[in-house]
């Protein structure tokens, strides 16, 4: 029975913090409308957004924005919206926009934007386009990014390559690759010039550098287009040329991306495909004397296909069921004015999605290559991931296809054919759903 007494004591203890926890549940506000804002940011990126939110709150006597950084935001937002308790504003990735809007989870912003006098011409076209889906406006941009070839200049010099002449075509990339790759006496790979799997964040979209697309129109999957097949044959050539086991052994020794053991920082991989944020990782984790360069990632046909890049954008949206859409939009609009936007992008070490940019922005920007990224984003070959509702599953399938190609479980053609079959069917199903819900949804969207 002593155990029972212990327990009573224990549960009495429970009451204490539990009681405290309850009290804290009701947050304080000074009569202003509280806007709940969720975003994915952590660390310095969250600090940058928080600074903008604080500015906005200081400038306001009607609205108070409560910023919360939320992990796995795409899932949390879905659960909250489906459960009828969404935040007023949320920051999602552009790739989530189609699936959210088509499933009736977002508020169309057309009228709000018109009334607020938002001018589409103020934005870099590709980012404005990413805010739209099915002829409606669903979001305003927050911070954009794009990717490029990042290379280690020191390794270039050591291999007898000109550090100011990065490769311009895939063929050149592979020629450089041979020169930059070092093997031990026993044939073990010690360093490598380039390997698509490192870090392999866009494994589903290599076709872009071969002139390929993942979808045609909004209903045809084109995973097996000749361009995509060429791209993934190129991926397949890696295990064939270097040996799947040798590559696996090499990758085993690679450390975490966000660590000093990142193989790009330790000089084990000379060229990677990465986004503009790589600057922050280099500043934090790379050796002090690390020398790096940025160039468009080479395409297979540089004469006709130049400056290819994948653009991404963080978007601010108003979920369906938000309590204060008007006030939420006011905050979004504030973020999209030049001053706050530049403050945000500078804080997050990104470029601005707006066409016009104050000269001081670049002077103050710590990333020496930020203009290179900005120019790339303005290129006609700057493209986002396909805007279809199934991209999440499609991309997962593509990544799986790369794993299969990589381990020799399938050839590029076989793996892509499997993706094509499954994803075409998947997209067809979504179209059936869309055709059922279209009349009701489009009507309610146009009225809002």
């Amino acid at each position: 029975m002593t155990a029972f007494r212990y327990c009573r004591f224990f549960f009495a203890l429970c009451l204490l913090p539990a009681g405290l926890g309850l009290q804290q549940l009701s947050g304080a506000a000074d009569g202003r409308t509280v806007i709940r804002y969720w975003d994915k940011w952590t660390g310095f990126e969250a600090d940058a957004m928080r600074a903008v939110v604080d500015d906005f709150n200081a400038s306001q006597d009607r609205i108070f924005v409560e910023f919360n950084s939320v992990s796995q935001i795409d899932r949390r937002l879905m659960l909250a919206t489906a459960g009828g308790v969404p935040p007023d504003v949320a920051g999602i990735w552009a790739i989530n926009l189609p699936v959210y809007s088509e499933n009736n989870a977002l508020t169309p912003l057309d009228k709000l934007a018109r009334n607020a006098g938002i001018n589409p011409d103020d934005y870099i076209p590709v980012f404005w386009k990413m805010c739209q889906y099915r002829d409606h406006l669903w979001a305003l941009p927050a911070t954009p990014s794009c990717n490029a070839l990042i290379y280690n200049k020191k390794m270039f010099r050591e291999a007898g390559l000109d550090p100011d002449k990065p490769p311009r075509s895939i063929a050149e990339l592979e020629a450089f690759n041979e020169k930059l790759t070092r093997r031990s006496a026993s044939g073990r790979l010690e360093t490598i010039g380039h390997v698509p799997e490192e870090p392999g964040w866009w494994n589903g979209l290599w076709g872009y550098w071969f002139g390929g697309s993942m979808v045609e129109g909004d209903s045809r999957i084109t995973a097996t287009s000749p361009e995509n097949v060429a791209a993934y044959r190129w991926v397949q050539s890696y295990p064939e040329r270097f040996g799947a086991d040798r590559l696996l052994a090499l990758r085993d020794g690679f450390g975490n991306f966000a660590s000093p053991q990142n193989p790009f920082f330790t000089g084990r991989v000379a060229m990677i495909l990465q986004g503009s944020w790589i600057y922050n990782f280099i500043a934090n984790y790379a050796p002090a004397d690390f020398e790096w360069g940025v160039a468009p990632f080479p395409s297979n046909d540089p004469d006709h296909l130049r400056d290819v890049t994948i653009v991404e954008c963080d978007l601010l949206v108003i979920p369906v069921g938000a309590k204060h859409p008007q006030e939420a939009f006011e905050f979004m609009r504030y973020v999209n004015t030049r001053g706050p936007m530049e403050k945000l992008c500078l804080g997050q070490r990104k470029f601005s999605p707006l066409q016009e940019c104050s000269p001081t922005f670049f002077e103050a920007h710590p990333n020496p290559f930020i203009r290179t990224f900005l120019e790339l984003a303005k290129s006609p070959n700057a493209r986002p991931a396909p805007a279809v509702t199934t991209w999440g599953e499609y991309n997962a399938d593509m990544k799986n296809a790369v794993t299969r190609i990589w381990t020799g479980a399938a050839t590029a053609e076989e793996a892509l054919a499997d993706v094509q079959k499954r994803q075409q069917k998947n997209l067809d199903r979504r179209h059936e759903r869309w055709h059922r819900s279209e009349p009701v949804l489009t009507k309610s969207w146009s009225e809002q």
């Binding site: 879905m78 989870a105 696996l248 085993d252 794993t403 499954r422 199903r429 059922r436």
Partner: protein, 305 residues
């Protein structure tokens, strides 16, 4: 029915009424609507639309579903017997009247208290290819072999390689078998002593006694632990979910039925499809339990029956 019987029925039902409400609202209704939704296209924020057996037809053709099914069976087929074997062996060891039995029992039991999320985070670190404790223990041993035999064995990068990832999860759950150890030990202590004593007189060896006395007598406990393992293994979710950061592991090697169900419901907005997976998951568990029960009727020995 006599008045007394009617009275008893009324009072009895009154007492179990909390359970009846819970059963109807949280069990029967969701189960029935799960079956109904599995015949619908349903995306939460729009009303469900009846589409017949389409979801099941799609499942049959969905190779990712088959992968999840295969992974789940693979995991269960290894985790259940290994779990039984490890927990039974530990219980048998404890059952020798060794000194410090209480201490050892506590040691074996403690890991089963660890929350799934902690378990996953901790073992993710244990199984880290480079820095993890598991490989730092295995590699020196392999080096000795490599040195002696001229081989090039190397411990795998557990969670990063499709071939080994499921083994990583199996190690993780095996660490938490303490519950079963305690149950087995209680079962072993209930084996009547006189059975062993008469076997000793006949000069039976340890293995003979185990095979002919211990195992038959504790077979109901084995059955119980097996059913618990079965229900648990087929809905494995938290550990792979946390270890893969909500994904499905290298080459989908850590995609289980519960994971795929969750993904379809809350990542892909396919609640109907998710329900169809759920119905199949339930059917599997139901059939296997019935099968195990049938088997137990033949092999499980109940004292006093």
């Amino acid at each position: 029915m006599t008045g007394q019987e009617r009275h008893n029925l009324r009072v009895g039902l009154l007492f179990i009424s909390p359970w009846i409400v819970g059963f109807l609202v949280l069990c029967a209704y969701p189960l029935v609507s799960s079956v109904y939704f599995s015949l619908c296209d349903y995306s939460v924020l729009s009303p469900a639309v009846f589409i017949g057996a389409q979801n099941y037809r799609d499942l049959a053709a969905d190779e990712v579903f088959w992968t999840a099914l295969y992974n789940t069976f693979f995991f269960a087929a290894l985790a259940i017997p290994l779990g039984l074997l490890v927990s039974l062996s530990l219980a048998v060891l404890l059952n020798f009247e060794a000194r410090g039995r209480g201490f050892f029992r506590t040691v074996f039991f403690l890991p089963s208290l660890v929350p799934m999320v902690c378990l996953a985070v901790l073992w993710q670190w244990m199984l880290n290819g480079e820095l993890g404790l598991v490989n730092s223990t295995i590699n020196p041993v392999l080096d000795v072999f490599n040195h002696a035999l001229g081989t090039h064995w190397q411990a795998p990068n557990w969670l990063a390689e499709a071939r080994y990832a499921k083994w990583g999860i199996i190690f993780t759950v095996l660490w938490g078998v303490g519950n079963a150890v305690v149950i087995f030990l209680a079962g072993l202590q209930d084996v009547p002593r006189h059975l062993y004593e008469s076997a000793d007189i006949d000069g039976a060896s340890f293995w003979q006694k185990t095979l002919h006395i211990t195992l038959p007598v504790i077979s109901p406990v084995i059955y119980f632990n097996m059913i618990m393992g079965l229900i648990g293994s087929f809905q494995v979710f938290a550990v792979p979910y946390v270890m893969t950061g909500g994904g499905d592991g290298p080459g989908r090697s850590l995609l289980f039925l519960a994971t795929y169900l969750y993904q379809n419901a809350f990542d892909y907005w396919n609640m109907g499809y998710a329900c169809a997976i759920g119905v199949i998951l339930f059917a599997i568990i139901l059939l296997l339990t019935l099968f195990a029960t049938k088997l137990s009727e033949r092999h499980v020995y109940y004292a006093g029956k």
